[in-house]
């Protein structure tokens, strides 16, 4: 007979332990929730996957016309289309993750009030679902690079590191917003606005070289600056790669992630009560 595990139930105080073993045990659930989201999304839309391709393409066209052609925003000497798309690739994942993870706990409140599992699985599953889109847009970008005859060179080996940085930043922000939204529902109304603001604070439609040299390091306080610049540097060979600015972004991203996980894990025990219809 298999050993019987013993669970102790008592009120926890202060910061809960992260209990990574438990998270590992529930990894399949994260995958299933993401799978559900993807499946439902493509089932309810008529053209399904085409949306994933159309959206960044349309944004790329609009930005190229207004910023690239009409406003003559510099693009580090790259074709503006490619310049923008290489940034939209990580940005799209980031923006989708923060808007969807914010409401994720509310959307799944039936689950949270009726079944036990580490609640952090819920926002994590939204990022897994967003990764599918990410891969599709990446293929689109590679195809465009082929058309323009741009080969990334050996720098592309750094790409996984920047993808990791992207995931860490997105999840860090996602954990904070989703946990806060359970207590303060204002958060979900702020997120669309936050999303737009953040978009213009990130060098998506313009290069960071537009900023004066001495201020550029502070620009790295936005974790997405480092991610977007890094993506361009790896794939297109322009922009800042391993610079102090990017390093600062990485530090900010990791601390957002770390603090986000700790905050989330210490609040999650109250989620069922905060979301429950009637606990009594």
């Amino acid at each position: 007979m298999r050993a019987i595990p013993v669970f102790v139930i008592r009120r926890s105080h202060g910061l809960a332990s992260l209990n990574l073993r438990e998270l590992w045990h529930y990894r399949e659930l994260a995958y299933f929730l993401a799978w559900r989201d993807i499946k439902v999304r493509y089932k309810q839309t008529t053209i399904g996957v085409a949306w994933v391709v159309l959206q960044p393409l349309a944004m790329m066209a609009v930005f190229s016309l207004f910023f690239g052609r009409l406003a003559n925003v510099p693009s580090d000497g790259l074709p503006y289309h490619l310049f923008v798309l290489s940034a939209l690739l990580p940005w799209h994942l980031f923006s989708r993750t923060i808007s969807e993870s914010t409401t994720s706990l509310i959307t799944d409140q039936r689950l949270i009030t009726k079944v036990y599992f580490p609640r952090i699985i819920v926002p994590v599953s939204t990022i897994i679902a967003a990764m599918v889109d990410f891969c599709i847009i990446a293929c689109l970008l590679f195809a465009m690079m082929l058309i323009y005859g741009i080969t990334p060179g050996l720098r592309v080996l750094w790409l996984p590191l920047f993808v990791l940085l992207l995931l860490v930043s997105s999840m860090g922000v996602g954990f904070w917003l989703s946990a806060l939204n359970v207590e303060y529902r204002d958060v979900m109304y702020t997120v669309p606005f936050l999303n737009q603001l953040w978009f213009f604070l990130t060098p998506v439609v313009y290069p960071s070289s537009l900023l004066p040299q001495q201020w550029r390091i502070f620009y790295g306080l936005n974790p997405m600056t480092g991610v977007v610049e890094g993506f361009r540097w790896c794939l297109l060979g322009k922009g800042e790669g391993l610079s102090p600015m990017v390093a600062l972004s990485a530090i900010v991203a990791v601390s957002l992630f770390g603090s986000g996980v700790i905050w989330f894990r210490s609040r999650e025990r109250t989620f069922a009560d905060a979301l429950g219809s009637t606990g009594v």
Binding site: R11, F32, R36, Y116, V280
Partner: protein
Amino acid sequence: MGDVAIKIEGISKQYRIGELQKYKALRDTLADAMYSPFKLFHSIFGSSNTEDKGGNGTIWALKDVSFEIKHGEVVGIIGRNGAGKSTLLKILSRITEPTCGYAEIHGRVGSLLEVGTGFHPELTGRDNIYLNGAILGLRRAEVVQKFDEIVAFSGTEQFLDTPVKFYSSGMYMRLAFAVAAHLETEIVLVDEVLAVGDMAFQKKCLSRMGQVSKDGRTVLFVSHNISAILSLCNKVIYMADGGIRAIGAPQSIISSYLADVLANCGEDLERLRVQGYGKDVWFSEIKMVSNSREHLLFGQELVFELRVFSRRQVKHLSIGCTVFNDVGHPVGTLFTSETFSVEQGKQYYLRLLISNVSLAPGSYHAGFSIGYGGLNGMRHDLDIVIGSPAFRVLTLSEGEGAMPDWNRSWGNIVFKDAQLTVV
């Protein structure tokens, strides 16, 4: 194998009234901060669910609950609505934390607080089996291995690739329960889920649960279905007002529970209402007007007066009435063949007359349902109230004087019109 499966010591749970409906607005917290910056710091970084010292605006859903359950025991939890049964199960399944107290659970816990948690209406039956399995803690490999068994149990083979939004409510329940029934945890917690579904499937579920306990698993289940508890459990916990009123052998605990329920019957139908019912159409008063309000003579007809209130228009309604004996076993049921309609926002008085009653002398209580459908086909109830009114059938028979004491072992029905011929 260790002896103790669940050990609870002094578990309490406090809720702030209104906490469950209202959420804090960031605006309010910020406004508070203007006046008292330290309070903000405390409210954000201080420990959450802080005990309210004053006791104002808070309620204790559970108060100082302690008990022990051994491996292989099947324990039923009974009590009125709001007695703390569901809160207890939520704490044991780790969905919510106790405010104070301590519990130890030896074994993996599978909890079934709702049937079909996480089912997505757009997904097919097949997809939902996998999804629900993962949510209940089954590994993918386990679901694959048991897939055929689950499908066979649910009896929905031909609809596997249909989105569950097209399922009838009965099919939906069957599929959902089938997944849950295949959990293989050492401890199973079940909350009032058998109240739904058709009779045949209820029986199947009950026998499946019986099987579960024969495997040496521990089952803790909340139910209003007294006969299910009598036939399945070897121990019963009677909860009232957030605490344990009594714990022990099913027969004695159930009779004391029923005695309490019947002692206060009439005063508050809300507490006798089966949870989840009475949302649109409900009974606001039920009384017996036979001979007196409490008893009737043997052979006298039963007359009930029901007051029904409706929030929306419903047609083809009928009344279901079940009479239970003193240990909670149903003795008989009827569905009225006459139907009626209700309009939105109106109140109706109904009178139900049951003649030729063959109830033997003893104590009984009635349960009423209002809904559509009946004996043949599925019945859909809008309200169910069990326990009121309670009445006694006296040993006095109308016009014929006293009849001898009725021996309980003879049952609850007196067959009156018998004919014996020598042939």
